[in-house]
Amino acid sequence: MISRLINDPILHISLRQLSGPKRLAIVLLLSIIPVVVTSIIVAVNGEVDHEFASGMIGTMFAAAIMPVVTMTLATAAFGNELEDKTLSYLVLKPVSRLRLVIPKYIVTVMMTGPLLVVSGVIVALVAFDADARTTVAVAVGIAVGVVTYSSIFMWMGLMTTKALGFALFYVFLWEGLLSSFLSGIRVLSVRSYTVSIMYGIEDKNLAELDQFSIRLATAAVAAGIVTVLFFYLTVRRLRRMDVP
């Protein structure tokens, strides 16, 4: 199964398509911003205030950097193929739509997840004196966020050629603004799932995240449902759409 996936031609071509130098540079630069900010604060003050650090993880990281990095790649997973009209090469083959979506999704998660998790882990290690539980909490929260966002943005990439614009609008309006002020919509916010999982695992060092949180179990289940739902919608869209 794994060897079949590794040799999958769609996985390989998706990797090539998403590995453009400009796109990778954007993803890399955005990912290291929290590390740079933390390093500067440590260099200036000698340490990072826990309150500031958890606030940075809950807002800058979970509400801005993580979704923007993920959308950069996930909207392009199918969006690029739609734009340059190469999607027909894939859909005109004896390959199920599910088999088209799985490798593209895996590539998106594998290209964004490790980068963002490493970035978050470095911030957690530096800011929280290498506390293992806090580090694990941040890593797990980011991983769940990437998996969920990737599913949503991959679907957006198939729905419109202006997916990046719509995704930015969604992230800053829904995830950034509304979910901060309207507690009722947190159950429908990926940012909220991310910080809730972090807070659910480590509530002392990450106490600042309480203000954006819902229950850990609710966040985990909701993230799973949203991921599966948008994954299904992507497959469904691919089955029903007219491919240019």
Binding site: P9, I10, I13, R16, Q17, D84, K85, T86, S88, Y89, L90, V91, L92, K93, P94, V95, S96, R97, R239, R240, D242, V243, P244
Partner: protein, 324 residues
């Protein structure tokens, strides 16, 4: 197929006797985008051999091919290929090869890698051998290791054809495959497709240039404004086209004198001078006219300023076939 099918209105179907079973059936199919009707109640059957899908740009050929190959869903009607529906039936592509109209390719691939990519998606067992065979068939062995991005348009078309036939399909749908090819490549293309058709395959080749399919297709389907306007044997249609009268407009220094000289010319059906002083000549033998006008002008001392055909557009050619 006979010329009796020509000139039928929408939904014209092809009546064929003593022919193999159709491999492609299009039954009362329409496609619209908002208020625009791209394909209007088309019914047709396509059998093994080469069929040319002809029509001017915007006639609905590509939309129809997209529905036959499964890229688009018909707004109305049904399509089957080899007895099966095409939409949401990936298994059909084991027996169907498609070369879409657009020329987009993965620029980072070499030609060979592109064909290999297709072969692997088709799940072929002996990928190297099948790729070799397909590349050799399109005569691209020498250039197979060069990046697709460096290919000329004609080379890219040939490699795209190789990718669409690498799995040895029973049915091939080729949208404008001759676009960008030079005359020598067209001859090679024709020979290759004839060979594939002789082995019992069904091949559909679309084009907006009548002459392009001259050496390719035994029968043609003619689309105009989203409708199947005519269908039939290519030779019969070509013969009909040769009988078509041409209208030529001549601007000259003394139109009445030139008109008088043209009246007696063999093959000229009528001559008139219009209100703007142009000589309007109607003839079925345009080649005679091409030589005669300069000669007559010289003989009669008339200075020619401009000679132009008035109805040489594709639409008028196809329109003539429909009206004939």
């Amino acid at each position: 197929m006979t010329l009796t099918d020509m000139g039928t209105e929408t939904g014209a179907s092809v009546a064929v006797t003593s022919q193999p079973e159709p491999t492609i059936r299009v039954d009362n199919v329409s496609k619209w985008f908002g208020n625009v009707v791209a394909v209007n109640e088309v019914s047709l059957e396509i059998r093994p051999g080469i069929t040319g899908l002809l029509g001017p740009n915007g006639a609905g050929k590509t939309t129809l091919l997209h529905m036959i190959n499964g890229l688009s869903a018909p707004s109305e009607g049904e399509i089957t290929v080899l007895g099966e529906p095409v939409r949401n039936n990936p298994g059909i592509y084991n027996r169907l090869g498609v070369m879409a109209e657009h020329e987009a390719v993965y620029g980072f691939f070499t030609g060979r890698a592109f064909v290999e990519f297709s072969a692997r998606l088709y799940g072929l067992k002996d990928v190297p051998a099948m790729v070799d065979k397909a590349i050799k068939a399109v005569n691209m062995a020498d250039a197979q290791h060069r990046p697709l991005g460096e290919y000329s348009r004609g080379m890219r078309q040939r490699m795209r054809l190789a990718a669409s036939m690498v799995h040895d399909p029973d049915v091939m749908l080729l949208d404008e495959p001759l676009s960008g090819t030079d005359p020598r490549q067209r001859i090679e293309f024709s020979e290759l497709l004839a060979e594939l058709a002789a082995a019992g395959r069904t091949i559909v080749v679309s084009s907006h240039i009548l002459e392009e399919v001259e050496n390719l297709a035994g029968s043609i389907l003619l689309m105009i404004s989203g409708k199947l306007a005519a269908s039939g044997d290519y030779r019969a249609i070509r013969a009909k086209l040769n009988e078509r009268p041409y209208t030529v407009s001549v601007d000259c220094s003394e139109p009445r004198r030139l008109a008088a000289a043209l009246v007696g010319l063999e093959g000229v059906d009528s001559v008139a001078v219009d209100s703007e002083g142009r000589v309007i000549v109607l003839s079925k033998h345009v080649s005679i006219l091409q030589h005669a006008i300069p000669r007559l002008a010289q003989d009669t001392g008339v200075r020619l300023e401009r000679v132009e055909p008035l109805d040489d557009s594709l639409e008028s050619v196809f329109g003539y076939l429909v009206d004939a």
